[in-house]
Symmetry: C2
Subunit: 435 residues, 2 copies
């Protein structure tokens, strides 16, 4: 939907200008497809919550309900979130080198809402937001909803490219346009699967500080590393220039919708007011349950077990890609949920999707992750939800689709291409530049 | 906070224009005061959740966690809300005469978020929203946050005055300004405590239909009537012209943050997209627990018991007002949480508040409920949270404050006023015009 409505809508002429920026994401349409049990979905970003030890969660809930009959957990809460959960959040962030005050944490309805509120605070229509190339589809949707324009910055196997950031800032400003912030996912990037090196983190912070550009550091996957922790958070070396977003959705469970922002103090005050305006307060019940869980359960051990689970599934995916699709290239994630695959030049990830669904495998076309029409040559594969066995099945089906498409192209264009591309030798290394 | 920031904020110059509209509400500041145990708070709008039978809630939670270990309840959900809770919501709305499809319901993070999303969809900066005089403080905050201007419409003991609505529409339009919707709370109004008559509902719908103005009907208190149900919902007679907002926060518990909008179909589609952009999905856990609760518990009986509880507290408040403050006038609510009191001309509800807190009673000054500086002569008293005994104590303390203020004024202005106003004879009827 790119227009503001249809002629059947009596309120067609009443919508605000910003409403034209609301559109159904490609990921959203896939949810319906992926829910059919016969389809192997490598499309969604749903964590495998069934791995959460049920007794740890029910124990936390029981303790919440035994305190005053749960009266506090059933009541309205503060627009900032409870002091208890904010103290726990400080401990969690300390694992990635962040020091600060629980007073500067604002609990939100998932970190998605923190993204929405930060954008609301800063973006006027026509302002520019910088983001990796590719970037998180849900963030691009928020930026569009607030009528921002996104300038993608080149990204490679080591994450955002500092020199490209310098060039993009200069190019945008030479057009007389205003940059409001850099949105970045430094760890186990969604969708690119890459991690920003420590040296680049420092360089990017310096570039942004010099240019007076705020950094919005989104880190939902940081604790889900496979071998060793990612470099420390950008927020750990810059209190005033970075808003850090965190979430319990991937490390614990998304169903409670509890995320947070750690912001410079003056911004934090405005975030609380925006939070109150949007929802009065984040849900008390979820905050109380998570607080009890963090108080009593071995949550570090539980996250360690999640790491093992997702590591095994990542390995299954990389091994299946090497076996079934050796001619393609892809990134090798050290954590998180996603692998970013580059197709041969002549394929179109979006056009190929219906054929994939017919073969009972779903993926997210790369176009979802670009605000500028890019990504036709890429697909995002997620290894978070399906079992290792399903992942192998899904990748095998994907190979059938890719090879079928290439055979079809070679049949029609054989004279020009010279040979079928489906048997070309593969390079399974990250491409030098993901954009 | 009316400026965009302070000189101590390095991001002072970066905020969006709309951020100037974010300000701490007067209700918010009172939460801190009201939390001191020695203060009788007649200020907040918190339901008395301790009256909720604990075993009914824990039973619902246990059933949720016993289905697949709660895997669905812990997972992301649809941006529209679960089909099961939307079916229940249709049954609840049928009690107020509303027919429709569960497909047109969108579950939100409390109905506050529905208010936010509807405003986001429709309001450009400078657009006008019509609202009762007075109106809900949280709605006024949302309208301001989206840079709308509010035109208050006169309201009396029978609710919004249709003739005043006609005049306001004409006056606003004669200035060349665009009206986006009428925001109204027909039942047991917050803060006015009045209920819109059936005849006026029909007349107002006709006025809005003729003028092409959308109606936003907010009904959190409808099922909490004391003697007989309020007239049926405005949405029951107009599918295409009314967005209806409902909530479980008052009838069940606000801690789950589950509310909803029932919208004309074309608007509903946009609301889902806006909801996904804002939070991805409303919290699954709360939706699952409420669904189980509605499935299994005698929720009609529970709401009936809430009616009895709040009726008793309303009676305590009216009786205490009659006893301790017979010289004032106030509204007589037939349901809900609030009584709206009119002070003598020479008093100022906002200026009087510090003295009230010193006397250990809190209220909400009427100024919180006006976008135009009105309300200095009014206070909102809530009878939802304190016990009947506390209500009597609180009103007695309030009388001390009011009479003390009047005595002070008569001492200084005695010559002009002629006599102390604290002993003047009272009229305990609703005033003819609340504005």
């Amino acid at each position: 939907m790119t227009d503001k409505g249809t002629n059947l809508d009596p309120w067609y002429d009443s919508y605000a200008d910003r409403t034209a920026g609301l559109s159904a994401s490609e990921v959203r349409a896939l949810f319906a497809v992926a829910s059919r049990p016969e389809v192997v979905s490598l499309a969604g970003g749903m964590p495998f919550v069934s791995a959460l030890p049920r007794e740890l969660v029910t124990g936390a809930i029981d303790r919440v309900m035994s305190q005053d009959g749960g009266a506090m957990a059933l009541q309205y809460g503060s627009g900032q979130g409870t002091p208890a959960i904010r103290e726990h959040i400080m401990q969690i962030m300390a694992m990635e080198g962040i020091r600060g005050s629980a007073d500067d944490v604002v609990v939100t309805t998932g970190s998605q809402q923190a993204l929405d509120l930060v954008t609301r605070l800063f973006v006027n229509p026509g302002d520019v937001v910088l983001a990796e190339s590719p970037s998180y589809v849900g963030a691009l949707g928020v930026f569009k909803a607030y009528q921002a324009d996104v300038a993608h910055v080149a990204t490679d196997a080591e994450g955002l490219v500092p020199e490209a950031l310098r060039e993009t800032i200069a190019a945008v400003r030479s057009q007389g346009r205003t940059i409001k912030f850099l949105y970045t996912i430094p760890n186990f990037h969604n969708p690119a699967g890459v991690t920003l090196t420590w040296a680049r983190r420092l360089e990017i912070l310096e570039i942004c500080r010099d240019a007076g550009i705020l950094v919005l550091e989104d880190n939902p996957y940081g604790l889900l590393y496979f071998d060793q922790p990612a470099p420390q958070a950008m927020r750990s070396v810059d209190d005033e220039g970075v808003i850090y977003l965190g979430s319990f959705s991937k490390t614990l469970a998304p169903g409670f919708r509890v995320g947070w922002a750690l912001a410079p103090h003056a911004i934090r005050e405005k975030l609380i007011l925006a939070n109150e305006s949007a929802t009065l307060s984040p849900n008390s019940f979820g905050q109380f349950v998570i607080t009890e869980y963090l108080d009593q359960a071995d949550w570090r051990g539980q996250i360690e077990s999640f790491r093992g689970l997702y590591r095994e599934r990542r390995d299954a995916m990389l091994s299946a890609l090497g076996e079934y699709l050796p001619s393609l290239s892809w990134t090798v994630p050290d954590g998180g949920f996603f692998v970013w695959v580059t197709l041969p030049d002549e394929l179109d990830s979006k056009a190929m999707l219906p054929r994939a669904v017919k073969e009972l495998v779903a993926y997210t076309p790369g176009t979802a992750f670009f605000a500028d029409g890019g990504g036709r040559q890429n697909i995002r594969l997620s290894f978070c939800y399906p079992t290792s066995e399903s992942i192998r099945t899904g990748v095998a089906r994907l190979a059938t689709v890719v090879n079928g498409e290439l055979d079809l192209l070679s049949t029609f264009q054989g004279a020009r291409l010279g040979s079928s591309r489906s048997v070309r030798s593969g390079v399974s290394m990250p491409p030098p530049n993901l954009s």
